[in-house]
Amino acid sequence: MNNRLRVLRAERAWSQADLAQHLGVSRQTVNAIETGKYDPSLPLAFHIATLFNLPIEAIFFPDGDGKETGER
């Protein structure tokens, strides 16, 4: 899965540690999600969506989708 997590985080001037604290996960988990090395569980994906006040599909999308994360 690709995602716009890094872009959304940057818009709020949050560090990975800040976002990790908001989500109740480790900074390593945030980094792994942002770099596409780990896909979050459904509850965590919903938590992320709620935090950014966006639908899940506005944040996460399948590999090869036309949308870009902005850093690849």
């Binding site: 996960v25 480790s26 390593q28 988990t29 980094n31 792994a32 090395k37 780990y38 965590l44």
Partner: protein
Amino acid sequence: MTRVNQFLSSLLLPPILFLAVYIAARALLEVVDPTPLRVTAALLPIPFFALWLFTIIRGVRELDELERRIQLEAVAVAFLLALLLLLTLGLLEIAVTLPPEDWSYRHVWAFLPTFYFFGLTMARRRYQ
């Protein structure tokens, strides 16, 4: 201190305690004679191992989902490496005569921490 490092640090005291009691039990077995006392000495480390096990389980429950996956992969690698070592020792014992004081199944436990940390390193690198 990160949560994972807290988890690893919390693992240190119970196994150290268990090891200390284990060594004490081993020393007791050298000097204690009546069988009931010897059995008691042999069973003495068990409650301390239970404490260690409880600490690990509690620690795992406090980890987030990625940290749990990493620990699972580390334990899986350690288990498989230990199994490989046991099976290899079994075949080697058939192939050649291994000196039991140097190469025996009872030496396998000493490799387990190394296998675990090897698996942990591999798993952590995968998600960095």
